[in-house]
């Protein structure tokens, strides 16, 4: 599903450049539940941005769903994101003046689905994350956990190949963290590839594979007990 070979990325900082990713090789198969661990500055967010087509890379190859990602223009990237990827952010990133339902339906709008149909689909997904009764509430009327569940529903609504979650529990307390992680596990159990970035061990341990990054290189890549249990 995601295949990365010799990936390099550096950011210009003034006259110098900061080498963030120094040759990453990573292969994630369909249906995997992977977490990227690392302290801040390890390059994990950069990796997610490249995988999420939000940023380009300098060197190396990146295959998404067997397709080589190279020299994408914004339009192609937008279409690929809409088709293959679902995003869950640390700060939820819901649009504040749209209701939960409208937020979930937004990716479908960009997909070109008719309004009635997409609201119906969006409602189904809200039901799936247990927020059907909150469909017409604005984001600021929801708790953090609820917001993140709305964001997950929004990530899922286009039936993407991969769900990319950037510190999905970073802004949540432990109880809601568990409910969000349970939700991600459920999604994974249904066959979806889930790619989580975190710096919390407890979160990482609930995934099936942990990739540890340090200073732009992978230092370990191992399956967890959760994976062996299945």
């Amino acid at each position: 599903m995601i295949k990365i070979e010799g990936l390099h990325k550096s950011y210009p900082i003034g006259k110098d450049s900061l080498h963030v990713l120094k040759g990453i090789d990573l292969h994630i198969k369909e249906g995997e539940f992977v977490s990227i661990m690392g302290s801040s500055g390890s390059g994990k967010s950069t990796l997610l941005n490249i995988v999420g087509l939000l940023d380009g890379h300098d060197e190396g190859n990146y295959f998404l769903n067997g397709q080589l990602i190279k020299d994408l223009n914004e339009k192609k990237a937008a279409i690929l994101r809409n088709k293959f990827l679902g995003f869950v952010f640390q700060s939820f990133n819901l649009i504040s003046y749209k209701t939960a339902l409208e937020n979930v339906a937004l990716p479908l709008y960009y997909k070109g689905m008719a309004r009635k149909e997409r609201l119906k689909v969006a409602l189904d997904y809200l039901e799936k994350v247990g927020l059907k009764d909150w469909a017409n509430h604005l984001p600021n009327e929801l708790s953090g956990g609820q917001k993140q569940r709305v964001a997950i529903a929004r990530a899922l609504v286009t039936k993407p190949k991969v769900v990319l979650a950037d510190e999905p529990t970073g802004a949540l307390d432990s109880t809601t963290t568990d409910s969000v992680m349970d939700l991600l596990k459920d999604i994974n159990n249904e066959g979806m590839t889930v790619f989580v970035i975190t710096h919390e061990e407890e979160v990482a341990e609930q995934t099936k594979r942990i990739v540890r990054l340090k200073d732009g290189v992978i230092i370990s890549d191992e399956f967890t007990n959760a994976a062996k249990a299945i």
């Binding site: 939000l54 914004e74 937008a78 279409i79 809409n82 990133n93 649009i95 990716p107 709008y109």
Partner: protein
């Protein structure tokens, strides 16, 4: 173009406008004010123009009036300060010499006299005239007719009087036509009553009598007090004026450079000054109106730019969710066009209402300052289309700004 008719597009625009109500309202007012000013100023200018046109309405605007004064230069043995009068001979010479330029030439003799009807009387102007006066300055007749060629030929003692004279000399409900009034102790038959023009008028309340009768009664012989000349269409009226004066100077042995000997007024030139003023005012109107409009449109661009900046993160989210740069651009441009259109329509409506009120307040009655303050619909349409085009162009700037930022940077924005 499909996106224009998509209810979702409008839903999105409604959403973002609703989010910034106050700012949207202020922006709209900016453009609204511009087009409002344009409409009102153009309408008022048109009203003034109509007012001036009405002022000159009854008068042939290509007219020149000539009279004599006294010379200021000694010439051919005559001393300066000599007084002289125009004669019928001058009239004949001018008529034959300038037959190509002169359309009508009306010699006039005037005096003031006591006019008596039974026991009522009043002092009025008496004017000896030819029937062509009616063509130079249209007489609005309430009763009867104006002088005609027969009256001239038969030296008839007939007169045409003004409405006020009629009211002053006649009893109420007394029919004037066929009655006799005494001017300078000579009886004249009233053949017509006219309503004096409330615009440009050199005569005021005046009893018109045939030129030939005036000459005989007042013994003016060949003397002519002054004359009115109108030119054919397309004649250079200023050139004609100076040519005529030069000919007259030759006939009366006046130095060609004598500035004082003849007095003349060129109505065309006087009107030209006023139309020049009106043209200037219209130019100013357009200038102010369009400048205000452009300022308003820039305000919209500016506001959208700020909005885009504020919404950078939201735009980043949308792009992460699969919005193409094109769809983002479309939405922002459409927002700009929508705002300018709404503002433009409101401005036109308010402008029309104000013009209507101006018309109610100043546009009614005889002495209206502004008559029919209106704006041509094509002009409004052009202004409106220009506005929308400007709105589109100005919207392109924030639209570009919105998509030039990489989604990753947009998302990072807090």
């Amino acid at each position: 173009m499909k996106f224009l008719f998509d209810s979702d597009t409008w839903q999105e625009i409604y959403g973002s406008i609703r989010k910034n109500k106050v700012r949207t309202a202020i922006t709209i007012i900016g453009v609204l004010w511009g087009i409002f000013l344009l409409v009102v100023l153009l309408g008022a200018a048109r009203g003034m123009e109509n007012g001036f046109n009405k002022l000159f309405g009854n008068f042939a605007t290509n007219s020149v009036f000539v009279w004599t004064q006294s010379t200021d230069t000694p010439f051919k043995g005559f001393q300066e300060g000599r007084r002289f009068t125009l004669t019928m001979n001058d009239i004949d010479v001018l008529k034959s010499e300038y037959s190509d330029e002169i359309k009508l030439l009306a010699p006039r003799n005037q005096t003031n006299n006591l006019i008596i009807k039974d026991f009522k009387s009043g002092n009025f102007k008496v004017s000896g005239d030819y029937p062509i006066l009616d063509q130079i300055q249209k007489k609005q007749l309430l009763y009867g007719r104006f002088l005609n060629q027969n009256d001239i030929a038969s030296i008839a003692k007939v007169t045409v009087i003004s409405e006020d004279m009629y009211k002053q000399l006649f009893d109420k409900d007394e029919f004037p036509i066929g009655q006799y009034i005494k001017i300078n102790s000579i009886s004249y038959k009233v053949i017509g009553v006219y309503k004096p023009s409330n615009t440009i008028d050199f005569d005021g309340d005046c009893a018109y009598v045939p030129f030939s009768t005036f000459r005989k009664v007042y013994n003016t012989a060949n003397k002519v007090d002054w004359m009115m000349i109108t030119a054919h269409e397309g004649t250079d009226i200023e050139q004609m004026e100076s040519d005529v004066l030069l000919t007259l100077k030759g006939l009366h042995k006046v130095h060609p450079d004598d500035e004082r000997a003849f007095g003349s007024v060129n109505l065309g030139k006087e009107i030209g000054k006023i139309t020049g003023f009106i043209t200037g005012m219209q130019f100013l109107t357009w200038f102010v109106g369009i400048a205000t409009l452009i300022a308003g449109v820039f305000a919209i661009g500016n506001i959208l730019l700020i909005t885009v900046k504020e919404r950078t993160k939201e735009i980043g989210i949308r792009r992460a969710l699969g919005a193409t740069p094109k769809s983002i651009r479309q939405q922002i441009v459409l927002e700009s066009v929508f705002l300018t259109t709404v503002a433009g329509m409101l401005g036109i409506i308010f402008g029309s209402v104000v013009l209507f009120l101006i018309d109610m307040a100043f546009g009614q009655g005889e002495d209206a300052a502004l008559i029919n303050p209106t704006v041509n619909i094509p002009i409004i349409l052009i202004a409106f289309v220009t506005l929308i085009v400007l709105g589109t162009l100005i919207g392109l700037i924030p639209a570009h700004m919105a998509t030039v930022v990489k989604p990753i940077e947009a998302l990072r924005e807090e």
